[in-house]
Point group: D2
Chain length 342, copies 4
């Protein structure tokens, strides 16, 4: 019997990507599509690429409408998920693509988001140690941020193996869909095409404490992250360049072995053959993570570069993968490791 | 029992797209992957986005290797398909993504391609009148060119309904993958990004006689096509702007009715609601065709704009769709109407 | 003594480009920079590429502020220029980058713009027959639209020479800056990158009557224009593909000769050598127009493709060139024929 | 009397950009344009954006041809400049855009370039301490690499002021023109559009020792640089994100003051107002450097982001600026601080 799903925030980029994946999921049926400012509009006007849903009408997001679905995906602005979620009982699996339930550290939440801490849910990054087990059977999932997905998978193995010093430096480029559909001047095509620019520099980006949380857990001690996100002239994709000083005595062989071991059984993570580096186009539209790692002997640093699609593995793909685990379905249903390239 | 397929020319863009689709086809199994200049290389180096095939090795294209597959897709340079095909018997369904067997007019073939005419195979554009019937049970399929796919679907209904004068004007923009992986200076990223440029102007592009053939068949009389292709700064997609003088007395209502009727039962063609125009991003990676039509009262012309993904519906998707028909499978297997947007 | 200039609408793309050019004009001094919604802001925040003006503050647009300058450039939304202009006496040269004074046909104006017709000023496209003479000494200039610039220069020679039938078909691709800085969803980078889409199809685009006006004047009889503009994934540039049925007996040699003659003395127009087609990147940031023409013998059409930078020759460059003529300065001051490529 | 210049390697991107700037230099006259593989071709075919030179013919590079010019710009592949330069006497100012004479450390040269060390010339980055003085009157100039330009200007002030620990981490994104016009598969438009990818990771990029040299000089002790270059989907521009651990006791105010002091009199370097971060589009085609700096209190690092145009300030602009200094001309002749944006 089909799993009945609803998507709240279906007219945004994250919600649209959830729908794109659900449409290809063999055990899922799509129920309510809801939103706020666009409620009442024909869905084909809002998301013309989602042809099977074109003739539907976007409904106003209400708990009444969402109730009665087996799974509800929340793709809402940060801070709005908690209110909706608390009106949905445990008969509903709630998958929150927002930030509300990602951080365990209430102080960090309040400092970065400015609202009271709502709590913590099982974290939808199954490839992290212990995460898959916590997702099995859960009725609540906090989908990770797109940057923390790329960065945590890139650095966790080095930290878990004790090979890196606890001060990480990360510079990541994101496609513009990472900023959502908000009408802001710097997101206009005229501004972003042919241009690269940073934002949220100096430890101010909201994804920083989430990376700190994940890497500290892997390391078993506090890890700091110097994080600089940059906006790249492409619609999708994250390329995260991550590095940390090598722990004394660390060899290149140890580093590679740690990554091989960490990901050898992970269906969505590919450690590329030595010498081949990832490109975001290769993972476009897929749930794949491409990784490469090396050790810079002069600078004595471990350098890892990871590529994900911010909307797929970085959001909607991770959400569907985690839903599959929670429901006891095959983890890969509705997901692909094949990118839409070129 | 799975249909066993092989792809010759698997390291190119068309071959890669065939593989991407076959990987998601539930009744297909992928056998030999062959090529020429790249034979012997690890496939993951050549097509890093095709993760499931990464550890294979590209083999040299030979008839021996291809024989024994139920279906062989040929994604070879124009002029090379005939030689391979004639070594494969009728036990093999040969799907030619090249131009060799598209044109019925031997003189036109020789004028545009400069080699002897090899013959004509059933034409893999099922949405054209009569095409689907000719594909059923066939052992040979000529996949249309990407531009003729977009243009024929855009104008055939108007011609079939007798609503347009027989002189069509077409200007189409293509993503760069339409030019293949050839190492030519004008295809460098530095040259194409931020730039639009035409090529093959003045009736010289090889897809012109194919459009003439299709539109003349629809009209029941000779149609000329003034065709100007342009190279756009995007990897994929074709936007074809097509127009023709309206036949005397033609109304806007008649035009719309003709398109509604032509495509009402076509699973991959969407005539958009009035006022909504297609965008190539909406069909990216999908087998969908998005169309809109209007009548310009001042210029007295019917204007149709169509969007397809040149690699999917324009090549590999059309190939898989036609294979499904030939084999008696569900026509939509392995294909989607959902684009990867944004 | 320096010509003292002011720019109203300096925070938009057109106003910014006017300033970029004026900064390199050896006989000009830049006075007031004005705007409306952004008034009071530091100019370096609004236009960070215009370093020499960074520390200025954008002032509110008022006639008082603009008066006292020798030249005032108006880069305002359509319909706002007339009010400002009538408050500026003839001691001020007013160069209107908007549409208000371009059309002689009041009915066409009202149909396309929906407001009362304000009048007609000398037209700032010096390369059209008679235009340069009308600009000399004028105190009022109507700068052409970006599309009409590209299209009129592409087709006027054929019409002036009587070589083309009076039904033109034009499909043009524009960079997104042509749509201005307006915050509209379809102009977001996520939407435009990797995508081509048409708009204003079927004779509804406001630049259509302006093309009709120019081409009819060249032909000496009414010319209709079937015009389809498309939005391309690039910040700047227009590529206009223009065609018309050849007049009976027209030869390719006659066509080329007409274009050579029309532009042999024009400093900013380059008829490319036969076989070489224009690319918008080649004219980026310059006042150059690149053109190529051919005759399609099968379709019996003259096909002309022109490339301009919509912001430079298509707006601000044409404005400065026309100002130079009006003031009796060297026509090329502050302008370049060299594009910023790649 | 005009300075007579020649450009060797005029058909490449660096050579083309030198010519673009020289065309706007009021005291320069352009003589020989030479190349190798393209010699004999019409220049307008090779560099269609350089209209004033279109009718010239590219000549074969020989010392005979270059001699007799006051200034010769060498835009040749690495390793070819020395041979040409030694045939030109001291009556010619030789400006080498290649790497041959940048490094003082012969061992580093040989390790990274694999050929014998040719020597060291005055370094064409006038904004570095002492560099301007060394350029005055010189007859030989080594133009810096594009990345070292962006990175050295970003970090030198912090090192010169003793505010940063000697282990820098740099991740930089470059436009594809930085890779030149070489016909390599990964530089095809289809591959780079919509994609970000790293290369030369782990201390292997040839610009690394040049950064080490410059930053070590500024710091007065050995500085290591962990450098990761990435290829971005844009034709031009470098965005360099640079960071280093703050020296004990360093405050944010000290950091800002050091940068203000370092660049207050530099005509081409703009330290943006606090809170405004650079974008590569803002410096496109200009000789400007935009910089911003902050201190991340959690990670305890100084983070500096700089934006330059790799072809202009990063190559040809730096070359012309240095030539101006060497010849005693106004340093800004032929150069602009205004970017071509959007």
């Amino acid at each position: 019997m089909a799993v009945r799903t609803a998507v709240a925030g279906a007219s945004g980029y994250a919600g649209g990507e959830v729908l794109r994946l659900l449409a290809g999921h063999p055990q899922v049926e799509v129920g309510a599509l809801t939103g706020n400012s666009n409620a009442g509009q024909r869905f084909g006007t809002l998301q013309p690429h989602l042809v099977p849903y074109a003739d539907r009408v976007l409904e106003e997001t209400t708990a009444e409408l969402l109730r009665g679905h087996d799974v509800v995906f929340l793709a809402l602005p940060h801070g709005q998920s908690a209110t909706v979620a608390e009106q949905l009982g445990d008969e509903t699996l709630v998958v929150d693509c927002g930030a509300d339930f990602r951080l365990a550290d209430a102080a960090a939440w309040e400092r970065f988001y400015g609202t009271p801490h709502a709590g913590t849910w099982p974290y939808g990054l199954p490839e992290l140690p212990g995460a898959r087990a916590a997702l099995r059977g859960t009725r609540r999932i906090a989908v990770p941020g797109c940057y923390p997905t790329a960065v945590s998978l890139a650095l966790a193995p080095a930290y878990a193996a004790g090979l890196a010093e606890p001060e990480a430096v990360v510079v990541a480029a994101t496609g513009t869909s990472g900023a959502g559909k908000a009408l802001k001047p710097h997101l206009l095509g005229s501004e972003v095409m042919g241009s690269m620019s940073p934002y949220g520099v100096g430890g101010t980006h909201r994804h920083t404490p989430e990376m700190v949380q994940n890497l500290s857990a892997a390391a078993g001690r506090r890890v700091t992250v110097s994080f600089t996100p940059t906006l790249a002239p492409m619609p999708r994709g994250i390329l995260a360049t991550c590095s940390a000083k090598a722990a004394p005595g660390t060899t290149a062989e140890q580093v590679r072995a740690a990554y091989e071991k960490a990901y050898q059984d992970e269906p969505f993570v590919t450690l590329l053959p030595e010498g081949q580096w990832p490109a975001t186009a290769s993972v476009q539209g897929s749930n794949a993570v491409h990784l490469q790692v090396t050790r810079d002997p002069e600078a004595d640093r471990i350098v890892v570069v990871s590529a994900v699609d911010n909307l797929t593995k970085g959001t909607a793909g991770g959400a569907v993968q985690s839903m599959n685990i929670a429901l006891g379905l095959d983890e890969g249903l509705g997901l692909s490791t094949i990118g839409v390239a070129p």
